[in-house]
Symmetry: C2
């Protein structure tokens, strides 16, 4: 047991064991698909347990348990307001680490690369826009930037200049966007399919549209780092 190593003086082997045990404990907390999805959701802004349940496949008890694991490993923090408990990521250092892991996995694990390419292909969003390219397009003022996440997430933070058009709205009542400007749709991140769906619908309706490779959290961290 980890805490049992808390004795006065440690020999070298005990020190190493304690450090590697602690590191492994953190990684174990991350090494679960449901918890990874929760992390991605919380990187959009704080959410109640119900908020997590609505945007994932999890039921209440299950979501709550996974959130406890994340909390016990200092990955998320909880805030109580009225009868609700709002969870959020502890800090941006963690978000930066999570994004590094995701970026590595997508670019270095062939299996994941292949799955991602097929997803993008099926949704006509293979030709995704990178964050750097987006910046250039914004500076040239020839882009209409759509945030297709739920409006609550948009309100927690969004890319400067983006317009909020949640997917249900986009599907029910296709607005008349200008066909002059190129449209770029973005959502929660590379694993989020909302932007893929938006690209599919819009391109089938004759718009010139691409998705952003990444999502709002990646844009946010990039802004922070360039300061």
């Amino acid at each position: 047991m980890f805490a049992a190593r808390n004795i006065y003086k440690m020999k070298g082997r005990e020190f190493k064991d304690a450090m590697y045990d602690g590191l492994a404990k953190l990684l174990k907390a991350l090494a679960n698909p449901a918890r990874l999805e929760i992390i991605e959701m919380l990187s959009q802004g704080e959410k109640s347990v119900e908020g997590i349940v609505q945007t994932t496949n999890l039921n209440f008890a299950n979501a709550s348990q996974h959130l406890q694991v994340l909390k016990n490993n200092n990955i998320v923090k909880a805030r109580k307001e009225k009868q609700y408990v709002f969870y959020s990521l502890v800090n941006n250092e963690f978000l930066s680490l999570y994004q590094h892991i995701a970026r590595y996995a997508v670019s270095e694990i062939a299996e994941l690369e292949r799955i991602m390419n097929r997803q993008r292909d099926d949704n006509k969003s293979l030709n995704a826009v990178g964050l750097d390219e987006l910046e250039t397009m914004i500076n040239n003022e020839n882009v209409l930037l759509l945030d297709v996440r739920p409006s609550a997430e948009y309100e927690f933070g969004h890319i400067t200049g983006a317009v909020s058009v949640p997917m249900p709205d986009l599907l029910c009542c296709l607005k008349d966007f200008s066909k002059d400007k190129e449209i770029v749709a973005y959502c929660r991140g590379p694993f989020c399919v909302l932007a893929d769906e938006a690209v599919k619908v819009l391109s089938e309706n004759g718009y010139k549209v691409r998705r952003l490779d990444e999502g709002y959290p990646e844009w946010k961290m990039k802004q922070l780092e360039s300061n």
Copy 2:
């Protein structure tokens, strides 16, 4: 099962599940203390299974099994020469990710921070030198830099200007180092205790000595990034 999702077209939920499963699979491969120690050893340069066994607590069968797990997850690669199998990390992108994880854990997990401080305190090496500070000291030419790892690791790569004094040598026959220059000892990284032991011995013998906060792999990555 991960591979079973390999069907022609995926709905959004299936895509997300496949991506998070794949990400979790990678993290599970990392989430084990023995494998983390192996990774740290391999970040010093390639090693045979026997090399791993000698520098860890593992027996052959166990080390071999963990190495298979790492290989199946594209974390290490194997090269066969004569009767030996030499393992090494796949690439520097992975090493960079590993170091990010370790750095995060040490600075953001209170428990690990505490254990590390006690270790450094016990070995009189609390006042460690950072990589930036070391660079300044080297430029001012007022430092004797000791690499206290086994000489094989020194030969795979070492900090420019460092002298190889493996721990056994240092312990058996304390050389007459100049007492004018400050000594800085370094080893495999922040979880390695060799430099701590070196600091302890040397400072008890009247030398002005500190350890490097990090190790050779961290120095190497920093060099790569500044290009």
